[in-house]
């Protein structure tokens, strides 16, 4: 079944120059396995194609049950030259939590 990431994970985002970055966190090891499998750099790049003009980097951190995602070229050159209401990229984590991922029945049973 498909669920939004918001059901199984939490996230915070921020800015560094023209780069937005997101920490995405699973609740447990089973949730982390889903994030690692489903939330690929390629899928994140497609999800943020409307703002991120550079490559997406992904760093798995099993010790924190987390993925670090970095969106290059995502802030119109940086917070002080962005036209957007969210010039600091604080809401980008919310946009990531809208992404839908596929769960097996066993995973859904366990995680939802």
């Amino acid at each position: 079944m498909k669920v939004r990431l918001a059901r199984i994970a939490h996230a915070r985002s921020g800015d560094k120059a023209d780069r937005a970055d997101i920490g995405l966190f699973a609740r447990d090891a089973a949730g982390y396995a889903v994030l690692e499998r489903e939330v690929t750099a390629q899928r994140v790049a497609a999800h943020f194609a409307w703002i991120a003009h550079g490559p997406v980097e992904r760093y798995p951190l099993p010790n924190l049950l987390a993925l670090k995602l970095v969106l290059n070229g995502a802030l119109q050159g940086g917070a002080a030259r962005s036209l957007r209401s969210d010039n600091l990229g604080k809401t980008i984590a919310g946009a990531l939590l809208r992404m839908e991922v596929e769960l097996t029945e066993a995973e859904a049973e366990r995680l939802l």
Binding site: A11, K68, G78
Partner: protein, 458 residues
């Protein structure tokens, strides 16, 4: 084993200092590290300074320290703040005057030497390319538009200031975490090549540099954020750091917020690029070896930090003028609110074009609908919305065009689609600044770094 307790101060210029009172009164903190400078704060300070040469520091430092000093002084708590911004000596003078006026005795140290704007040409002649860190572009492209350029200094000058007996250390641009690493090195006596312990201190500094974000504030989640208790009285994070480089993150008893595995790991990865190489001027931290252990009772143990030697270069953040933004907000009421807003956008666009306005980018956000989620917003009910608010923002090279954007809206009230409201006047265009991250050889900066100490009373 020796330990030291250090508490978080502000997380940005404009943040609240009220929670620091609880850390002082009930948190047994020996130090407060306070971060007043985001990447673009220096641009704001530059504007202040261009109007008044005595300005250029974050003005919150005087009311903050005059409010907190009566709590800190009897307990011997010391402050390290980057509130000096572009004018640390100016911050010191303002603070000395405020303390003298109250008859308060304190020793104030100032760290200078991070400002590089006046040295850009000298540095280029010395062989520093100052190329853009991400794009590799040459700084010549923006040389004449630069408004500030500051190196991120490390913790060393802060330790020198503390060794000189400073009660309050004012810096300009230093690495945020250095505000905390400085006191830790001073107290715990770590060697400057003790990479793992320094890395542990860097992790602590990173967890404390964003005030309430380290203790349950801005807890990005669906639903769980609402379970964080009493945000109105949040306790800023406090670290109890041991000489071996491990730490316990906590907060003052009786305060709101939450320190647990979830809130601490959210802050740990915040505004980090490669977590295996988290750079600072003093050490490079690998977060991949960190262990976070939830001890319960708002206590999280942090251990296992590993560090690599510090880089030979220092990061520099520069800002350059890069055009203007004009923006205007109006709203439309049901019926047909969405269709009318779209029609108004088209009319404004046409009006700008017919006026010959040179617009490089035209952005429309439907506030309350898609400003944050973009194409992921659910707009399926847009035909029957109660109201639709639009924010139009333009990018232009011409200040007059940015200033004029608002003039393309009022005529719509009588001659455009019906039921428009919420137009609150024409606001002048605002300056856009590009950021220019780059690197400079460490010794080019460090040979000019100075620590000066002054007592508020003779």
């Amino acid at each position: 084993m020796k330990t030291v307790r250090i508490g978080a101060g502000l997380g940005f210029y404009g943040d609240s200092w009220l929670p620091i009172r609880a850390s002082l009164e009930h948190g047994e903190v020996q130090y407060i590290g306070s971060d007043h400078l985001a990447e673009l704060t220096l641009a704001i300070l530059r504007k202040d300074q261009s109007r008044d040469p005595a300005a250029g520091f974050t003005r919150d430092v005087v009311p903050m320290l005059t409010a907190l000093w009566p709590l800190a002084q009897p307990r011997g708590t010391r402050f390290v703040l980057n509130a000096g911004g572009l004018n640390p000596l100016g911050a010191r003078d303002a603070l000395v005057a405020a303390f003298r006026a109250r008859g308060w005795r304190a020793r104030i140290a100032v760290v200078t030497g991070d400002a590089l704007l006046d040295r850009v040409d000298e540095l280029r002649e010395a062989g520093e390319a100052l190329a853009h860190l991400d794009t590799g572009a040459a700084i010549a492209e923006v040389r004449d538009q630069l408004v500030f350029a500051n190196a991120y200094l490390g913790a060393k000058p802060i330790t020198e200031a503390l060794a000189a007996g400073a009660d309050i250390v004012l810096t300009g641009r230093v690495a945020d975490a250095a505000l905390f690493l400085g006191p830790l090195v001073h107290e715990l006596g770590w060697a400057w090549d003790d990479w793992d312990r320094l890395a542990g201190g860097l992790a602590v500094g990173h967890l404390l540099e964003c005030s309430g974000q380290g203790s349950g504030g801005n807890f990005g989640s669906a639903g769980a954020w609402a379970t964080v208790p009493d945000l109105g009285h949040i306790g800023y994070p406090i670290a109890e750091v041991s000489a071996d480089g491990t730490a316990v993150i906590t907060k003052a008893p009786g305060t709101g917020g939450r320190v647990d595995f979830d809130t601490v790991r959210q802050q740990l990865l915040y505004e980090v690029h490669d977590p295996h190489r988290y750079f600072s001027p003093d050490v490079v931290l690998d977060m991949g070896t960190l262990r976070l252990e939830d001890l319960g009772g708002d206590r999280v143990r942090v251990s296992g930090a590993t560090g690599q030697p510090r880089p030979d270069t220092l990061k520099v953040v520069a800002g350059y003028e890069d055009g203007w933004m004009g923006s205007t907000v109006v709203g439309f009421c049901w019926p047909d609110a969405w269709a009318k807003a779209e029609a108004a956008v088209a009319l404004v666009k046409q009006s700008l074009a017919e006026a010959g306005a040179a617009v490089d980018e035209f952005l429309v956000e439907h506030l309350g609908l898609d400003a944050f989620l973009g194409p992921h917003a659910d707009l399926s009910g847009r035909g029957t919305l109660n109201e639709v608010w639009i924010r139009v923002a333009i990018r232009t090279r011409d200040k007059a065009v940015a200033d004029s954007l608002g003039r393309h809206f009022p005529w719509l009230a009588l001659s455009g689609p019906p039921y428009m409201g919420g137009f609150h006047g024409i606001t002048p265009g605002s300056r856009l600044l590009g950021l220019w991250p780059t690197r400079v050889a460490r010794e080019q900066v460090e040979r000019r770094v100075q620590v000066s100490v002054q007592d508020t009373l003779p």
